[in-house]
């Protein structure tokens, strides 16, 4: 299987990855996902790996302000993008309002889904402000960015929480949305 031996050699590329405003010059294996690059290469372990297949949302980060699952995002494709992780949500030492609301509402238990919930909530609130509908938005109706609980629940359904903190997560987000 000579042929295969050649093919098993990693392909690497040089690039610059911008995370939370800091540019990291790195050499990446083309196979690396953003999630693994963050966690294993840059020691930014805030984004979590819950499934590695887009099915749980624990790895959610913002790419140019949009929430995505970093486990299905190839790092090589991000050379010209700005990435925000949970480590970058605070304004200096002042936590993001969602971060404080999560603690106050006890919107976390084990905390493993939490960074993904937070990044997802930040992206989600921006989507609502931009007028994006969800499946529970009334047909053709306009979107009230203050979002009722049904809207928040639907829009946050890409982030599983096995500890079952959903009702507190929704309360924390609702408080910030208003």
């Amino acid at each position: 299987m000579n042929d295969d031996e050649d093919l098993s050699a990693p392909v690497t590329m040089e690039m610059r990855l911008s995370v939370n405003g800091i540019g990291y010059p790195i050499t990446v294996d083309t196979r690396e996902t953003l999630l693994d690059t963050l966690r294993e290469r840059l020691d930014l372990t805030g984004a979590k790996k819950g499934c590695d297949h887009g099915q749980c949302g624990a790895c959610t980060v913002l790419v140019d302000g949009r929430r995505v699952t970093s486990c299905l995002t190839l790092t090589v494709a991000l050379d010209d993008r700005e990435i925000t992780t949970v480590e970058g949500l605070a304004d200096g030492s002042v936590p993001h309002p969602l971060q404080t609301a999560f603690v106050r509402h006890d919107a976390l238990q084990c905390g493993y889904c939490t960074p993904g919930q937070l990044c997802s909530a930040v992206g989600m609130l921006a989507e609502a402000r931009a007028g994006w509908p969800s499946i529970v938005t009334a047909d053709g109706g306009s979107v009230d960015a203050r979002l009722d609980e049904a809207e928040i629940r639907e829009r946050m359904s890409g982030n599983l929480c096995r500890c079952g903190a959903y009702v507190n997560i929704v309360a924390a987000i609702a408080e910030v949305a208003r």
Partner: protein
């Protein structure tokens, strides 16, 4: 008995590690930075039964980055211990599909994973048997059931009583295999050095993991250190040790380098335990006024061929209701399946689904309100042992819940309430969970600056343990919360029991209380804190060893409202409310989270969760979170949790009962009973998916 002067305890203190968790600074097992580490990717068996004849390591070794490939032919030898699941890579035998049979160690995650996919394995395949049946010829009675209870218990003559009963219910209930699926997959970083083995592991018990791993490698527990400051959920799956942690230690030993190993979500369906499927027959005999004369509850469950795990499915039935004639049994069959283990309220959750569904059926048969039926059968003393209950407030929970939920004007007729295209129904079920407590050690130290440090190898898997222990310590020391640090999650700390059986706070809290009391006494004796600080140590073995003269259990009641779409059969919960009697609630904020979390998991169990067995290949087929559905945010509307005042002096210095599991216990039955009320359809096999409700 000492009681704690209430100051911090009982208040809604925020989680002490909350900020660390919301900022991403809290480090979980796989996230501890270690120099020179390498990655391990396990190779799972693709047959369910047979023998590994050959593993082609040569090819994988030529892959770039690959350092080694281990299998039973070249793995370091382990000592034998009681649980054969932990004899990883020690024999050619394959006991279930997905069992780890080799491991690739490589420099990067990508290289390890790719090489693992391409390790060639040759098997001698044997026919497998993975089908659980109530009439399986190899059913047997286990010696004991988890944690250490008799398999069968009988009182009176239930068969005769059933035959004579004017009203009977005789029904078979089934619960599927379910997987714990904590959000953080099991992960380990293992490192050997001159001092021994260090494991950063996602575990519910640093001490117990240390004690389990050390003998495998023939070393003293003191040569193993387990570090687990934060754990991304467990729900029992990180209680008993499982093969991955052993494999990581083995790989690190062999390569001489620190090894990181994370179980994939898919692999978690084979190697990290799950809730056994059950087939349960419940028979109730009663007078027309609802008074029970006989209760018989028989459960059939499975375990693997290499390790017996016998779930205590029918044990809650032993204490729930008064009836002179009663029998509860467990039968097990060893199949070529992965080994089941603990999953949140093992026994109570599936067992009470069956019993509490049957009680609902009996209420209908007697024309009685289901709450009234339960009240009529409330026992004076523990029906099995005759011991008095240390406290039992099930009736108060039912009554308080009924009031809050708006049960009073409920029309019992099924299938008659409509709202648009929805059929609406409400249901209730009771819950119970035993009070457990284990011996622990703890130290408390006063620093000259007025700071106190309490040390105990407890675990916070999301329960709020770190916070509650801080509150307990602050009160005993009579200082504000901010002056107390509680160090947990490390086996180098004083030994502690694991986070399981809802016993954590009771066990650790007792030790923390005693340590802080001793420290207070010491400080009184010395007239203050010496400049070098002062430390005291305690051990609760003796205190814990005193047998109780009481039956000690927590109780609760869940109420559910569901809507079922008449066109599609889609059932969704609209409202969930629970009231619990759990002794003293130490932190209402984190306690409420435990209750709503448990109820949310119960909702998920009721409507969604099922691990689907692939009969042809022998594994669980839907092994990821897109196919194995756990409740998403949209599934979970209003969930409310309340508790009744309960002062119970026979528990522990805090006066608390465990709260981590009772939330799930009655929820599935409450939902199923609500679905029956909505539709008239009695679903006796979980989950209640739409095809079961389509008419």
């Amino acid at each position: 008995m000492t009681t704690v002067a209430a100051r911090a305890v009982g208040t809604e203190a925020d989680r002490v590690e909350g900020l660390e968790k919301v900022t991403g600074r809290a480090r979980y097992a796989f996230e501890h930075p270690i120099e020179d580490m390498v990655y391990a990717a396990p190779v799972p068996s693709v047959v369910a039964r047979g023998e590994v004849i050959a593993v082609d390591v040569a090819e994988a070794l030529t892959f770039p980055g690959v350092i080694d490939v281990l299998w039973h032919g070249n793995a370091p030898k382990l000592e034998r211990v009681g649980n054969a699941e932990l004899h990883v890579l020690q024999s050619p035998r394959v006991a279930y599909r997905g069992q780890y049979i080799a491991v690739v160690i490589a420099k990067t995650l990508e290289e390890a994973r790719e090489a693992a996919l391409r390790v060639g394995v040759e098997y001698a395949v044997e026919r497998h048997d993975v089908g659980l049946r109530a009439d399986h010829p190899r059913l047997y009675r286990p010696e004991r059931v988890n944690p250490d209870l008799p398999a069968d218990v009988q009182q009176g003559d239930p068969d005769t009583a059933l035959a004579a009963a004017p009203v009977t219910v005789d029904a078979v209930y089934r619960t599927p295999a379910e997987h714990n699926n904590p959000m953080e997959p099991h992960a380990t970083v293992a490192r050997w050095d001159a001092e021994g083995l260090t494991l950063y592991d996602s575990t519910q018990g640093a001490t117990s993991l240390r004690d389990a791993v050390a003998p495998l490698f023939g070393i003293e527990p003191s040569s193993v250190r387990v570090i687990a400051p934060h754990v991304g959920g467990g729900f029992g799956a990180k209680g008993e040790p499982h093969p991955p942690v052993v494999l990581a230690a083995l790989a690190a030993r062999r390569t001489g380098r620190p090894v990181k190993l994370a179980v994939t979500r898919q692999q978690m369906f084979s190697v990290t335990g799950y809730r056994t499927p059950t087939i349960q027959r419940v028979r109730l005999g009663a007078h027309p006024d609802g008074h029970l004369t006989a209760i018989v509850h028989d459960a059939v469950e499975q375990s693997s061929t290499i390790h017996e795990f016998a779930e205590q499915t029918t044990t809650p039935t032993r204490i729930m209701y008064a009836a002179p004639n009663r029998r509860t049994t467990h039968r097990l069959v060893r199949l070529d399946v992965p080994t089941p283990s603990w999953m949140r309220a093992p026994g109570e959750a599936p067992g009470m689904f069956a019993l509490e569904s049957a009680m609902d059926e009996l209420a209908a048969a007697c024309g009685l309100d289901p709450i009234e039926l339960r009240i009529r059968n409330e026992p004076e003393v523990d029906p099995e042992t005759g011991l008095p209950f240390s406290s039992r407030n099930l009736v108060a929970c039912l009554r308080d819940g009924a009031r809050r939920f708006g049960w009073a004007d409920r029309d019992p007729a099924p299938g008659v309430r409509r709202r648009g295209r929805l059929l609406i129904g409400t249901g209730v079920a009771a819950s119970t969970y035993p009070v457990y407590r284990s011996a622990c050690q703890a130290t408390a130290r006063a620093e000259p600056g007025g700071i106190f440090t309490v040390r105990i190898a407890a675990a916070d898997i999301g329960t709020g343990a770190r916070t509650v222990l801080t509150q307990i310590a602050a009160d005993v020391l009579r200082v504000p919360l901010g002056r107390v640090r509680v160090a947990i999650g490390d086996s180098a700390l004083p030994r502690a029991s694991l986070a399981g059986g809802s016993s954590g706070t009771a066990s650790w809290g007792t030790a923390v209380t005693r340590a802080c009391e001793a420290l207070r006494d010491e400080l009184d004796r010395r007239g203050g804190t010496p400049s070098t600080g002062v430390t005291v140590s305690v051990d609760t073995t003796e205190e814990n060893g005193e047998p109780s003269r009481f039956a000690r259990h927590a109780f609760g009641a869940q109420f559910a409202e569901v809507g079922v779409d008449r066109d599609t059969g889609e059932a969704r919960v609209r409202r969930l409310l629970g009231v619990f009697a759990v002794g003293r609630v130490l932190n209402p904020k984190t306690a409420r989270s435990q209750f709503i979390g448990g109820m949310t998991m119960g909702l998920s169990m009721a409507l969604l969760e099922e691990s689907v067995l692939d009969r042809e290949f022998g594994d669980y087929l839907n092994h990821d979170l897109a196919q194995y559905h756990v409740a998403a945010c949209a599934d979970v509307p209003a969930v409310e949790a309340y508790w009744v005042e309960e002062s119970d002096p026979h528990l522990n210095p805090m006066g608390s009962k465990g709260i981590g599991e009772i939330g799930i216990v009655g929820t599935a039955a409450a939902v199923a009973n609500a679905v029956h009320h909505a539709t008239g359809i009695r679903v006796r096999d979980l989950p209640i998916r739409l095809d079961k409700l389509l008419t």
